[in-house]
Every structure is written in structure tokens, then in C-alpha cells.
């Protein structure tokens, strides 16, 4: 290499090094943030079991939530099962409510009327994503709660109302990801089915949906992740009673709703505060599990041909 050429390259290399340093620092910052966040929640959450002396089993399976008091053996009454049950109930039920609508509209958008779908429907669902959760909560409080009370009985506050509000909130996520999944099915599959004399419905039910199933499952689990972590809107309609839910219409509580209602009132280092961190840790672990499941599905569904 000529000497002049080498000289001309040098400043370029310096720029590249600087670029590497800047982008690398960004990556490092994000990675450190994520890891310290997990570490912090874990260390605080585990304090309940290490310093406060609560057995892990009584936290996970206990049904009495009253962290200010101790039971006969001097162990704090921090049974988290009511909240864990509440969180899973609203999550599963909201997905059950949202899925048929999401799937139905996704099929309409991709298979029936793509023009309307991309021009009108998708912008509309994106609008739904942008609505703040407090607005959903307010609508839930003023409309969903009285409505469920009118036909399901009870106070109207409870898992049912929470699930309906959550279903609205996760609908756009599940819908748009289902649209992507159905759209990703190669046209040649549909051609093959039509070429065999299958009707549109047979093609959708037996070729398109089975081929899109891993993508649809991912959509559902991402919706579940969102539902599981949503706090404000749920807290406004769920009733906030830390008891094992016996019916869909009795007041209940979720992990998130208990954290948001209590965190501001309890001093750092108290048993109550520690155990709220433990609830947060449960939330965090569940989110990680959901994301892990999505990755596993992604890897399994990848060789689609």
C-alpha cells in the first residue's frame, strides 16, 4: 500500500473507532440498566425471605394479605396467592375475550378486504394503542362497571370488569400481530388450497390459520404480557380487595393493583415495603417467562418454508 493511501485511510479509521465507542457505550448503558433493574428488584424482593423471615411457601400459597400483622408464629401475614390468582385470572380472561375479535378482524383485514384493512382499520387500531391507560380505566369505571353490575350482579367491581377493560387495551396488540402472522403465510399455500377446489373458508380454516398459528400464539402471549403488567386501568375497576377471588364479580386485587395502591404509603425497609418488592419480583419473573415462551415459539415456528 502506498504511503499516501495509508495516510488517507487513517482519519477514517479514527472515525470508525469513535463510532464504535459511541454506539458501544449506548449498548452497554442499556444492558447495564436492564441488569441493575433486575438485580435491584430481586435483591429488594428477596429481603422478605432473607431479612424478614417469611418462608417462601407461605408467601406463594398464603391467602391472608395483611403485612402489618404477624400470625401466631410471628411470621408476617403476607400471603400473595390472592393477587397472583387475580393477576392470572384477569390476564387469561382478557385474552379469551380479546382473541376472537382480534382473530376475526385480522382474517377480515388480510383475507376479505385488504384495502379497507390497510386504509381504515389498521390506523384505527393504532389509535387505540395511543389511548392512555387512565382513559381506559375511566371508561371502565363509568361504563363497564355499571354495565357488568346490571347483568352479572355484585358491585360491578371485580375480575370481570377488569378483564373487559384489559381486553380493550390488548386488542390492538393482539390484532396487529395476528394480522402480521396471517399476512406472512405464503400466497402459494392459498393457491395450493384453491387449486384443490377448497373454498375460501376451508382455505382459511385449514391452511392459513394452522400455518399462522405460531405467530398468533406469539400475539396472544404478548397480549398476556401487556395485560399481566397493566396496573392503573385494572386498579380502577378491579375492586382492590386482597382476597382469593371466588367469583368473577366479587372485588379482587392483582399484583400490580396492590403495588400501586400501597407503595406510596409504606416506608422503605418495613416488612410491608419489602413484600411489595416481592410482588414486583413475581411480576418481573412472569414477564421474563412470557418473553422466553415467545422466543421458544419463534425458534420452533421459524422454518416455515
Amino acid at each position: 500500500m502506498a504511503k499516501g493511501e495509508e495516510k488517507a485511510l487513517r482519519p477514517k479509521r479514527a472515525i470508525e473507532r469513535r463510532g464504535l465507542a459511541i454506539t458501544g457505550a449506548c449498548v452497554l448503558l442499556v444492558a447495564v440498566l436492564v441488569l441493575t433493574l433486575i438485580f435491584m428488584v430481586a435483591s429488594r424482593g428477596l429481603a422478605t425471605f432473607t431479612t424478614d423471615g417469611t418462608p417462601f411457601a407461605s408467601f406463594m400459597t398464603g391467602t391472608t394479605w395483611n403485612p402489618h400483622q404477624n400470625d401466631a408464629n410471628g411470621i408476617p401475614l403476607v400471603g400473595a396467592l390472592p393477587m397472583i390468582a387475580g393477576s392470572f385470572s384477569v390476564t387469561l380472561l382478557s385474552c379469551l375475550i380479546a382473541l376472537p375479535f382480534a382473530l376475526g378482524s385480522a382474517i377480515f383485514v388480510v383475507e376479505v378486504n385488504p384495502t379497507f384493512g390497510t386504509r381504515v382499520f389498521q390506523p384505527l387500531t393504532e389509535l387505540l394503542v395511543g389511548i392512555p391507560s387512565v382513559v381506559f380505566g375511566l371508561v371502565g369505571l363509568r361504563i363497564i362497571v355499571p354495565w357488568t353490575r346490571s347483568w352479572a350482579g355484585g358491585t360491578g367491581y371485580g375480575i370481570l370488569s377488569g378483564s373487559i377493560v384489559l381486553a380493550f387495551m390488548i386488542l390492538p396488540t393482539v390484532t396487529s400481530l395476528s394480522i402480521d402472522a396471517i399476512r406472512a403465510v405464503p400466497q402459494s399455500y392459498r393457491d395450493g388450497s384453491y387449486g384443490l377446489g377448497c373454498t375460501r373458508w376451508q382455505t382459511i380454516a385449514h391452511v392459513v390459520l394452522p400455518s399462522a398459528s405460531s405467530g398468533i400464539l406469539t400475539a396472544v402471549i404478548l397480549g398476556m404480557t401487556r395485560a399481566f403488567g397493566e396496573a392503573l386501568a385494572v386498579q380502577m375497576v378491579v375492586g382492590n380487595a386482597a382476597q382469593i377471588p371466588t367469583s368473577l364479580t366479587t372485588p379482587a386485587a392483582t399484583l400490580t393493583s396492590v403495588i400501586t395502591t400501597s407503595m406510596g404509603n409504606e416506608a422503605m425497609g418495613t416488612v410491608y415495603n419489602d413484600v411489595l418488592w416481592s410482588l414486583a419480583l413475581v411480576l418481573l419473573i412472569m414477564s421474563l417467562v412470557f418473553i422466553l415462551i415467545i422466543h421458544i415459539i419463534g425458534r420452533k415456528g421459524a422454518p416455515r418454508g
Binding site: G192, Y194, G195, S211
Partner: protein, 275 residues
């Protein structure tokens, strides 16, 4: 919905063709079939007749309208938005390019094999049993028999008989294409349309598919195959039709056409002066 005619094929001279002398049992005929996308006529009026047990190849350069023509026979073009098929497609004496004709019923009799092998994301068995299941065959023993018979007819049975429950994607490209042929044969079609079935395959797989096509013809199936490969057209087809720029230029018996092209454009194409 008008039911699809199950009547016998007519034995009469082929219309719109030069060699009207030979009597062929015409099963399918197109009369002035056109295909338009919006205002663009992709296929000018085309009239051809096809007989049972005969292999016809449609040849011509890319974009000449041969695939478009093929896809208008089973009215697959109707699945494309903005596409219109004009003229008459006469299957067993009935015009099927008419309102009220049950397309899905028609496609049970006119099967189709595509350019890219497109097995479903299912097991080999389920790929073949797919169409019969949708069309009402549910008995396990009937399906078993149909699957074996179809795989044998597509000359792939010996290669897959021990792994029927494995995914269709586990097969090689050539095997996948023969699986797609088996899937089509499971409907017992009268006519099989093939859109460049070997363009994605290696020579050995191509040979296997060509063998399959010949054996289908010997069992009375009318096969219409689009191909870019002149040698393939010469090897497998009894008759041939040459398309250019959306127009059907010349048709006749393959051997005669290749030896003695009457149209200058076909002569040019065969000698490689264009295309």
C-alpha cells in the same frame, strides 16, 4: 349454483385447429378466452381444445401469456383482484366461465400443480389427504387407500411410505413437487394443469416428474403443462401451443411443430433468435 356436468366427453373434431381430421375425445375447450387486468388485455382471444389422455405443452418466452392462459382454465385468475376472464371455457360441454358455476366444484376436476413446490405445513399423509378430507371423505381406510394410490401414481410412494407422518417440508424439492402432484391426483381429476412444474428442480427430479406426467396420460388424464424448456416440451407433450406477446401463435402436434414450424416467429423462437 349450477352443478358441474358429469356427462361423457364428446368425440368430435377439435375446433379452431389445423388438423381437424383426427378425432379426439375433447374434454376441455376454450373459445376466445381473454384475460384482462384493468384495461390491459394480457391474453388475446385464444381457442384451444384438449383431449383426455393427451399432454399439451404451452411454450413461449416469459410474459407471453401462457401461465395466464393456464390459470384461466380453472379460473384461478378470479382470485386475483381486478382480473377478468372473458370468452368460454367449455368443460365436458358446459361453459364454466359463467356466473353461477361452482368454481370450487370445478377445481376438484381440474387440478393444478404450481411452479414452486408448495406442500402444506402438514405431514406427507395429511398433504395428500387434504383435498379428499375437505371434499367429504372421512373414513380412515378409504383415506389410507387413496393416499397410497395417489403417492404411487406420482411415483413417490417407495420413497415416502415409511415416513408418511413426517412433514412435507422434510422432502427434497423434487419429492415435494411429486407430493404436490399426488395431492392433486387424490381428487381423481380429469385434467391437471402444471405451471412450469420442473423449473425449480434438478435434472433427475425433472425426469421423475416427466415420467409421472406420461403415466398420468396413459391413465387418461388430460395434462396441460407450461414450460420454458423446449426439450421437455418435446419429451412429454403430444401437442403444443406457442404463445407470444399474449397471442396464441401456433398449435399442433409437437413433433410436427418442432420439425416444421409454419409461423416464422415460432421458427425464430425454436432456433433461439429471441426469447
Amino acid at each position: 349454483m349450477t352443478p358441474i356436468n358429469q356427462g361423457p366427453v364428446s368425440t368430435r373434431p377439435a375446433t379452431g385447429e389445423g388438423d381437424a381430421a383426427d378425432l379426439r375425445s375433447v374434454i376441455l375447450e376454450t373459445r376466445d378466452v381473454t384475460v384482462t387486468y384493468g384495461t390491459h388485455e394480457a391474453l388475446h382471444p385464444t381457442s384451444l381444445a384438449f383431449a383426455a389422455g393427451e399432454v399439451t405443452s404451452l411454450i413461449g418466452p416469459s410474459g407471453c401469456g401462457k401461465s395466464t392462459y393456464l390459470r384461466s382454465i380453472n379460473l384461478m385468475n378470479r382470485e386475483i383482484e381486478g382480473c377478468k376472464v372473458g370468452g368460454q371455457v367449455i368443460y365436458r360441454g358446459q361453459d364454466v366461465n359463467a356466473p353461477g358455476v361452482d368454481l370450487f366444484e370445478l377445481r376438484k376436476h381440474i387440478g393444478m400443480v404450481f411452479q414452486q413446490p408448495n406442500p402444506f405445513h402438514k405431514s406427507i399423509y395429511e398433504n395428500v389427504a387434504f383435498a379428499p378430507r375437505r371434499h367429504g371423505i372421512t373414513k380412515k381406510s378409504d383415506l389410507d387407500q387413496l393416499v397410497e394410490e395417489s403417492l404411487r401414481a406420482a411415483a413417490i410412494w417407495d420413497e415416502v411410505k415409511d415416513k408418511l407422518s413426517e412433514s412435507g417440508f422434510a422432502l427434497s424439492g423434487g419429492q415435494q413437487q411429486r407430493l404436490c402432484i399426488a395431492r392433486t391426483l387424490a381428487m381423481h381429476p380429469d385434467i391437471v394443469l402444471m405451471d412450469e412444474p420442473c423449473s425449480a428442480l434438478d435434472p433427475i427430479s425433472t425426469f421423475a416428474v416427466e415420467e409421472t406426467i406420461r403415466s398420468m396420460a396413459s391413465r387418461g388424464i388430460c395434462t396441460i403443462i407450461v414450460t420454458h424448456n423446449m426439450e421437455q416440451a418435446a419429451r412429454v407433450s403430444d401437442r403444443c401451443a406457442f404463445f407470444l406477446l399474449g397471442e396464441m401463435v401456433e398449435t399442433g402436434v409437437t413433433a410436427e411443430m418442432f420439425a416444421n414450424p409454419s409461423d416464422q416467429r415460432l421458427d425464430d423462437y425454436l432456433t433461439g433468435r429471441f426469447g
